[in-house]
Amino acid sequence: MGKDQSTNGGGLNRRQFLGVGAGAAAGMLLAACGGSSTPPGAGGQASDDLFGSGAEYSGPNVSLAFWNGFTGGDGPFMRKLVDQFNSEHQNIKVSMNVLRWEDFYPKVPTAVQSGNGPDIAIMHIDNLATNAARQVIIPLDPVAQLLDLQEDDFYPQVWQAGIYKGNRYGIPLDTHPLLFYYNNKSLQQGGVDGAPTDKASFEAAVTSMKDKGVEYPFWVPSDWPAHLMWWSLIHQFGGAPYSEDASQAQFNSDAGVQALTWMADQAKQGYSPKNIALDAQAVAFRQQKDAMTWDGIWMMNEWAKVKSLDWGAAPIPNIGGTQAVWASSHNFTVTKQAANDKNKAQAAKVFIKWISDHSIDWAKSGQVPARKSVRESPEFQQLEVQSIAAKELEFVRFPPAVAGIGDLTQPTFQLAVNEAMLGKKDPKAALDAATQKANALLEANRKKYGG
């Protein structure tokens, strides 16, 4: 957008403001708001004493607002955990508030600003940097230290994604990749033996089901989660949506075009219905009209609710030549609102530890726990679908952790995937436009957040 051009000549702009580093800025903010004894200028570590010492909280009764976007089958699991936490901690009362993610990210900053927001919030890895830069959330390095969370207990990419400008802002809770779900009855009808794993076997399965009367064997949606399928495929074809440092978009690389073309072809060749509107593919899978679908692991409990549905799950097949799959991760964050009150901050630390320790129960909602120790526990091995998803961890591709990157998804490649799937533009043209727009937005973000 060329936002800052007119101010580059003089006066203060964001780059200068943020030049000190958001971590240090947030640190000073803590020092100012928390009324703590930390001298100003101690930088990013200024919040050391905010979280107290040890992993326990013994102060006066305190209540914590905990916000998340678990509106699906995952919500009740988290609520149960919160209830259990409350009953085990007499001096901490956590109240949970659930919003749709689409409303969550716009609302949390405003709510925190007004002091009526969450003390603890769950955020995805691609939103951590943005909210850190916007000073919605505070550094959690002391928490990781006090709780003795070690990098080698976590999936490295997830652990690294929580760091912005040298400070940790998120404590990873889980990982949730895309999974390949199939209807056993349709597979049998098509004479398909076992879930396909690569391009040849996947396309053979689709053709053979189509031939044997499954009208639409593989529904490729035009909206969510179509862009996550494309995200997986562009990596499979040997590309990546963003350059290594996430400074350039490369959606329209050969790999990107091949990925989107393959998806659009499914509809063109009649394996998928055309014009699949939002959520229709999930409805169709429940109604047993959709034989194979790629959707988030969190959908597993939705399928399980349909008694007559005989379904299975497998890793996303390798269509492009390199195994890869989209995944994201939920992280605990503490907002600057909690930083105003030492008791809240310390109680938040206890809550994060407790839920993290109980993440095996959270896994049951359709998640892969972030902690290796939990994933390797015998209890986790018994969770069939989650264990399959855990195998995907070897080749997951997360969104980059750069401030403002989450804002790019909808107006750029999600839109391009939609246009191509609905036949409004051909894949190359759609991705060209999206790339151009993404690069302009990245440029604007660099100015806004001081790249």
Partner: protein
């Protein structure tokens, strides 16, 4: 009985002896309030004026201020950019101009398709419901009923009813032997039917009620006089009903245009702005730009342009409906 008889009906007994107030007690006075200060009218207006200032006037002025900045309310730096946000909206090839004008076009199309239907159908319905026939009140209620639903209910309901692959509407069309597989919510021009149809169904009750009130204000004698002059039904409609409805019509047309131009919930929920961004309305764009992507300066500029456009459209409507002077 000491209670006063008002209009042929007995006043409620609770209005005990001597409490009856005859019509003469309510006779309006044209004189100002005795001893009233010149401030009095403003004091009476004050409660509304304060709310208006705090929630409408002040934010409107603030929007202009925001629109001159690269504004993110959480970032310490809010660089002043002058008219850049506006220029970018008007310059082709910028990140904002394409999506913004596409959203203005979508809004314009929605207004164009929905307003005529929402002006004409309710008028016909009102005339019908103004006749005397058994079950009239039932039908009046039935046509008004959808209006009590919230936009979320209407939006989600029709999103699934009109779903191209798993929706009931296509399913029934299929059963009727029409194997159309109409892409109601994903393909032009069908998306417009999917937006305008439910909107008309949902809101026509409101306009119908306004028209009904207007129809009941037209004196019967005028119709009788017209009949005496030999006017048929069509001539009565043209020469009595329509002129009698003129003030109501201005109100209906203006409010319907403004309501349609502010459409948000239907495209947000029924079509999700699809295909691409073809049904994303201006309000939806402004909301996403300002509240989701935190580019508030640009969103403010866009909303200011939208406001100016709406003021212009309202003025044109008023001029078009202005009472023509006899020459």
């Amino acid at each position: 009985m000491t209670t006063t008889d008002v209009g042929g009906r007995a006043a409620p007994p609770a209005a005990g002896p001597g409490a009856g107030v005859g019509p003469q007690g309510l006779a309006p006075t044209t004189r100002g309030v005795k001893g009233g200060s010149s401030l009095t009218p403003y004091l009476f207006l004050a409660p509304y004026l304060i709310l208006f200032t705090v929630f409408v006037l002040a934010p409107s002025v603030f929007v202009i201020w925001i629109s001159l900045h690269d504004w993110d309310f959480l970032l310490p730096g809010k660089p002043f950019v002058g008219l850049e946000n506006y220029l970018n909206l008007f310059k082709s090839g910028t990140v904002t101009s394409g999506p913004f004008w596409s959203s203005m076009e979508a809004t314009g199309k929605f207004v164009l398709y929905s307003v005529p239907l929402l002006v004409i159908i309710p008028m016909a319905l009102a005339i019908l419901l103004n006749q005397r026939f058994p079950g009239r009140n039932f039908f009046r209620a039935a046509y008004f009923a959808p209006y009590v639903l919230g936009v979320a209910v209407v939006g989600i309901l029709w999103h699934f009813l009109l779903d191209p692959s798993v929706g009931l509407v296509n399913n029934y069309l299929d059963k009727l032997g029409i194997d159309a597989n109409i892409p109601w919510t994903t393909e032009t021009p069908w998306v417009w039917a999917a937006l305008v149809g439910p909107t008309v169904w949902w809101t026509l009750g409101f306009n119908t009620v306004i028209y009904l009130a207007g129809l009941q204000d037209i004196p019967r004698e005028l119709y009788e006089a017209a009949k005496v002059d030999g006017a048929g039904r069509w001539a009565q409609f043209r020469n009595v009903t329509l002129p009698g409805l003129r003030p109501v019509l201005i109100f209906v047309v203006t409010t319907t245009i403004l309501a349609s131009a502010n459409v948000f919930g239907q495209p947000y929920l029924i079509t999700n702005g699809r295909p691409g961004i073809e049904t994303r309305s201006a309000i939806m764009y402004i909301g996403q730009e300002g509240l989701r992507d935190f580019r508030m300066g640009n969103a403010a500029a866009a909303s200011f342009i939208l406001t100016l456009a709406l003021i212009l459209v309202s003025l044109v409507t008023f001029v078009a409906f202005r009472e023509r002077k006899e020459r």
